[in-house]
């Protein structure tokens, strides 16, 4: 039962009705039961066990940290809690490999049950660690109500793919769950539909163009590789921000505001700015719980300390996404970008002055252009199946058609042939239409507050979103990119 499934679209109104008819002091129980049911419906039993262990260990350690006066013991409970989350995370992520190591040739007959999925676990273990650290630092009060705490970690709209919520942001909302609010339900439904549109009309339409090239990049060169890489940059944004809109929309129907995860990331004017706009809840997490402690610990080393903290932080970011070398390379590349921006700052400013760009109105546009291309280049490593593939792509972006496929697509089909790679012009036109609707809708929502508009205008917009969903839907079953982490 994923967000873009019919079951989910039936499930949410049923939960909403139960939530509405339940007395306010039991609403947490409705949401918790729905969340457990949602997780159980995925038929991944180990994940429910892992989630239960995360809830119990972090709840218990949180209570112990706050009830303890001795700082050494408080620190012991903090590290015990963090270690428990790490052990649970690593055990689930590598369980199949561990079992195969112990029992060579091990296989399990699944019968429709997925025993080795890791769906959601990376998100709520990070959230549990942040809760423990915030309790230790006195930034949040520990939650005494076990059911409400379990809901904080398992609230179904954010269970599988975040946002990673800070205790201080979400727990107070769960303590006073409000009754049915028409304005919230209406805007929540619209946000859900808008996110669904981004996923099924934009991301799913881009996916085949990208997959065609990235599945076996050695058959392509030049324009095909460049086009597929740009398309992937747009696909991953539409996919992940679409998911986030759906999560935020459903949470809003229950009067809960989750963290915005995206803020026009491709308009960032530096890599640091990009990380303030991309997957914001995760960026805040690595900043607060890895970068800052390391930066403070190594502060006497000045710039070297900051550079070291950045590299370790982004190495963690890469490893969190996956244990393969491609994710490590992607994480380290971002670490190197940020470290370079610190080390080269004096020279960069001197160059800006020399070429007259220091106070020029075009400076921000130039910075945004450079930042966007650095980010897109790094996506090559994120998307490619292996380091060999990513290296091939990175070194053949500006190489003319030499292989059989790229010769066929580029030389015979021209630039369009290289971009289409066998897909029809109609597919490309539909993609263009979907992206235009996305761009116009995003721009419009930044300029106009829809709830302030007259009723005829609001309902025209609702119908426009529904029509766009129906007519531009790709009707392909493509999983969410960020589910794999």
């Amino acid at each position: 039962m994923y967000f873009d499934s019919l079951q989910y679209i039936i499930f949410v109104p049923i939960v909403l009705a139960a939530y509405q008819f339940m007395p306010s002091r039991w609403r947490w129980a409705v949401l918790l039961s729905a969340s457990i049911g949602f997780y159980a419906a995925l038929r991944m039993p180990l994940l429910v066990i892992a989630w239960t262990l995360v809830v119990l260990t972090s709840y218990w350690c949180g209570r112990r940290i706050s009830g303890e006066g001795n700082d050494l013991r408080r620190r012991t409970y903090l590290w015990a809690g963090v270690a428990a989350q790490l052990v649970i995370l690593v055990s689930i992520k590598y369980l199949r490999n561990i079992l195969r190591l112990i029992l060579p040739g091990f296989e399990i007959s699944t019968g429709g049950t997925e025993w080795f999925s890791t769906l959601g676990i990376s998100y709520y273990t990070l959230q549990a660690v942040s809760y423990l650290a915030d309790v230790y630092l006195g930034m949040t009060e520990p939650e005494r109500h076990l059911g409400r705490f379990a809901l904080y970690l398992g609230f179904f709209p954010k269970l599988l793919q975040g946002p990673i919520e800070r205790a201080g942001d979400l727990l107070p909302q769960l303590r006073s769950l409000g009754s049915f609010n028409y304005a919230n339900v209406r805007s929540g439904v619209l946000l859900f539909c808008w996110g669904l549109f981004k996923k099924v009309a934009v991301a799913n339409r881009l996916a085949p163009f990208v997959t065609a090239v990235y599945y076996d990049p050695h058959g392509y060169s030049g324009i095909s590789l460049i086009a597929a890489t740009y398309m992937y940059a747009i696909q991953i944004l539409a996919d992940f921000s679409g998911y986030t809109d759906m999560a935020l929309g459903v949470a809003r129907m229950f009067n809960i505001r989750l963290t915005e995860n995206f803020n026009s990331p491709y308009f960032a004017t530096s890599i640091a700015d990009f990380w303030r706009r991309w997957h914001i809840s995760f960026s805040r997490w690595i900043l607060d719980y890895i970068f800052k402690p390391l930066q403070i610990q190594w502060r006497d080393a000045r710039k070297v300390g900051v550079v070291g903290a950045l590299l370790v932080t982004f190495l963690f970011s890469g490893l969190w996404h996956g244990s393969t070398l491609t994710f490590v390379a992607w994480g380290l590349l971002h670490g190197v970008y940020l470290a370079s921006s610190i080390l080269l700052k004096p020279w960069r400013e001197a160059v800006y002055h020399k070429i007259g760009l220091a106070n020029h109105p075009w400076r921000r546009a130039f910075q945004a252009f450079v930042t966007f291309h650095l980010v897109v280049f790094a996506w090559i490593f994120f998307r490619a199946s292996s380091i060999a593939d990513s290296w091939y792509i990175a070194t053949h972006l500006f190489v003319a058609a030499t292989t059989r496929i790229s010769y066929a697509t580029t030389v015979r089909g021209g630039v369009m042939g290289a971009i289409l790679n066998g897909r029809s012009a109609r597919d490309f036109a539909m993609l263009g239409a979907a992206m235009t609707v996305w761009f116009l809708g995003s721009t419009f929502s930044k300029i106009v507050r829809l709830q302030d508009q007259p009723i005829w205008f609001r309902w025209s917009m609702y119908y426009a979103v529904i029509l766009a969903l129906v007519y531009l839907n790709a009707y392909d079953d493509v999983g969410f990119v960020y589910f794999q982490f």
């Binding site: 403070i296 000045r302 900051v306």
Partner: protein
């Protein structure tokens, strides 16, 4: 109440001529004080007042008022 010598140490490190700073002001509200330059501001304050903060003390800071109170507690 932020004392002038703390304000001076912060503004000096950030190369700002002047900026309104009060108890509730956060780092994000001061131009140039971002996550990358944060450690430089802390080092500048430590150097200016001859004190050393523990890592946890620095991580607990939420506002410049917190920094002033921490500094006062160190200076006795």
């Amino acid at each position: 109440m932020i004392k002038p010598d703390l304000k001076h140490a912060i503004l000096d490190e950030l190369r700002l001529e002047d900026w309104q700073i009060d108890d509730e002001t956060t780092a994000a509200e001061v131009p140039g004080w971002d996550s990358l330059s944060h450690v430089n501001v802390i080092l500048a304050v430590e150097k200016a007042f001859g004190v050393r903060f523990s890592n946890v003390e620095v991580l607990k800071l939420n506002s410049i008022g917190d920094l002033q109170r921490l500094l006062d507690s160190k200076l006795g």
